[in-house]
């Protein structure tokens, strides 16, 4: 009964994610208007509430909100996925090395991550953005990866630390395998399951981080559009034109919910310590 419910949740999450992904990819087809099109008619350059012509209403310049959300999905998802992949690669690499070699490397690693993790991630990202002075999309992705990788690295280090004591590692050594081969052929595959789970949750927290930064005006800059920047634009009119805030926020919430559901499901499916 519970298992079924769990898996139903995972299924719902996956469907939700795929829907959002499809919507983002097909934005040019699906979007009813050009997201940047400002009506030539001056009277139409106003924030219109959701209606038959504009399902989710229009923004300050009369641009169609639904179209902007669809195009915004591309940036938000791109950042979420790119940061998650970078984080997974960096985290797995550093984590494996620290866990496998233990000793001094590990001690330095632990102190470093201790120090980085003392900073609330968004605070560190804000500081980095301030120093970089209006970073572009790529720089933004790098900044988010730089503040998010430590948790993944810690997780993989823990896995590697326990794996290196296992028989198959000794067996591989006995057969004359070298460190690199053991790392890549024996440890890495056994870390993939937890890595996959944490990456799924990671996409959620990256999307939230990007949205937060953009909301504060420190992330995606116009004319580019992300869900966070839409919220940033709409926040000013919160009380008068609430749809400008409600719909982009719903888009974020549903996507993050999808990631969390899928992550919960994956974790149940793969077990908390699939290698152990």
């Amino acid at each position: 009964m519970r298992g079924l419910l769990k898996h139903r949740g995972a299924l719902a999450g996956t469907v939700l994610l795929l829907t959002v992904l499809a919507a983002a990819l097909l934005a040019p087809v699906l979007a009813p208007y050009d997201p940047a099109r400002v009506p030539t008619d001056l009277a139409a350059r106003s924030m219109r509430p959701p209606g038959r012509e504009h399902w989710l209403g229009t923004d300050l310049l009369g641009r169609d909100l639904l179209s902007r959300i669809l195009y915004g999905a591309r940036v938000s998802l791109l950042v979420g996925l790119a940061v998650a992949l970078l984080t997974a690669a960096l985290g797995a690499g550093v984590g494996l090395l620290a866990g496998f070699y233990a000793g001094t490397i590990d001690a330095v690693f632990m102190r470093l991550t201790d120090a980085i993790m003392a900073f609330p991630t968004l605070v560190l990202a804000i500081a980095a953005v301030a120093i970089l002075d209006q970073p572009g999309l790529l720089a933004l992705i790098l900044v988010l990866a730089a503040v998010q990788w430590t948790a993944v690295a810690r997780l993989i280090r823990g896995q590697a630390l326990s794996l290196r004591e296992r028989e198959f590692v000794s067996a591989a050594y006995a057969l004359g395998a070298r460190d690199l081969r053991i790392l890549v052929r024996h440890l890495l595959p056994n870390c993939l399951a937890p890595l996959l789970v944490s990456t799924t949750f990671g996409v959620a927290s990256n999307i939230l981080a990007e949205a937060g930064l953009s909301f504060l005006g420190l992330g995606i800059q116009p004319p580019a559009v992300s869900w966070g920047s839409l919220l940033s634009e709409g926040a000013v009119y919160l009380t008068a034109k609430p749809w400008l805030v409600i719909f982009p926020g719903l888009a974020i919430s549903l996507t993050v919910l999808g990631c969390n559901l899928a992550g919960d499901g994956l974790r149940d499916l793969l077990g908390p310590h699939p290698a152990g």
Binding site: P120, V123, A127, L238
Partner: protein, 314 residues
């Protein structure tokens, strides 16, 4: 081993972390070297003036010496001067800190209270409708962006219902605190509820709860005294980690509610490229996080005697 000895030992362990995080802030500062002065002076800054300012800020010495001087200044409570406002960063921080602490404590208190209550309810009604409902709400809660939740709360409770003010600090009036605290704590209600539930569910299977029932204790005493006390460690751990996460939301929540705290100071300074303020506020956020997890560690010792003795042997 007593609490005091434990606290002392933990303090010593903190040293490398503190060193590490000041090093990170210093590295960020060094990374931005030169540019901030130019940025503060504008594009047409006179090179001589820039050189003088660089000397004034100690930016011409070797890095390790700069770090040493940086640490020494920090220990004196000197966080540098704001480029924009020409006042000590420390003054700005001291001015803003109380509002942030007040908000964070209220938010955490709320999150712990609601989260534990929801988690216990869910665990006790395990597998039934109330459990499912609680956990669904918790999941939706942790999937909602902090600042969006804040704006939705404003729409509902301030604009539509008019129960609470829309924003502002309100001279410390508690009504101004309610919505920001719910916003900042909302995420953690979900986390704490989920952790309380799973941790308590594990404890509910323990033999000593059967012993407690066999003693004739009331079910409430069995759950809350014998059960929750044993489930407390993971919850405490989460609260410790959570305070860091909670502070992630501080810049966002403070921005949404125009709350005059450290987070808004940081955001404004970042927008203005007032780097000394950015770095000072960043460092302070880290110090608060470290301090909070230190306090939580001390709570461990109180909550679970096994930690105390394990710690004593090591």
């Amino acid at each position: 081993m007593g609490l005091l000895a434990f606290a002392l030992r933990r303090t010593l362990q903190l040293a490398p972390v503190l060193l590490g995080l000041t090093l990170i802030v210093f590295a960020l500062q060094a990374l931005a070297l030169g540019d901030p002065v130019r940025a503060a002076m504008g594009q047409r800054g006179d090179p001589e003036v820039i050189a003088r300012i660089r000397a004034e800020y100690g930016l011409d010495a070797p890095l390790w010496a700069q770090y040493g001087r940086y640490l020494a200044r920090l220990l004196r409570g000197d966080f540098g001067r704001s480029f924009r406002q020409q006042v000590p960063v420390a003054d700005l921080i001291v001015e803003r800190l109380p509002a942030t602490l007040r908000l964070a404590l209220a938010a955490m208190g709320l999150a712990v209270l609601l989260g534990v209550a929801a988690g216990v309810t869910a665990a006790v009604t395990h597998g039934r409708l109330a459990d499912l409902a609680m956990m669904t709400v918790a999941l939706v809660g942790i999937s909602t962006p902090v600042f969006w939740l804040g704006m939705m709360l404003i729409l509902l409770f301030a604009v539509t219902l008019g129960w609470f003010p829309i924003s502002g600090y309100g001279e410390g009036d508690w009504r101004h605190l309610v919505l920001p605290a719910f916003t900042l704590g909302g995420l953690h209600v979900g986390y704490i509820a989920r952790m309380t539930r799973s941790s308590l569910l594990e404890v509910l299977r323990e033999d000593y709860l059967r012993t407690a029932r066999a003693k004739g204790l009331r079910e409430g005493v069995v759950l809350l005294k014998h059960g929750l006390r044993n489930a407390a460690l993971p919850i405490l751990t989460l609260i410790g980690i959570g305070l860091g996460d909670l502070l992630v939301g501080a810049p966002l929540t403070e921005t949404v509610f125009a709350w005059p705290g450290l987070g808004r100071l940081l955001v404004a300074a970042a927008a203005n490229r007032d780097l000394p303020v950015v770095l000072g506020a960043t460092l302070l956020f880290a110090l608060i996080t470290v301090g909070a997890s230190f306090l939580v560690d001390c709570c461990y010792v109180v909550a679970d005697p096994r930690v105390r003795f394990a710690g004593g042997r090591r």
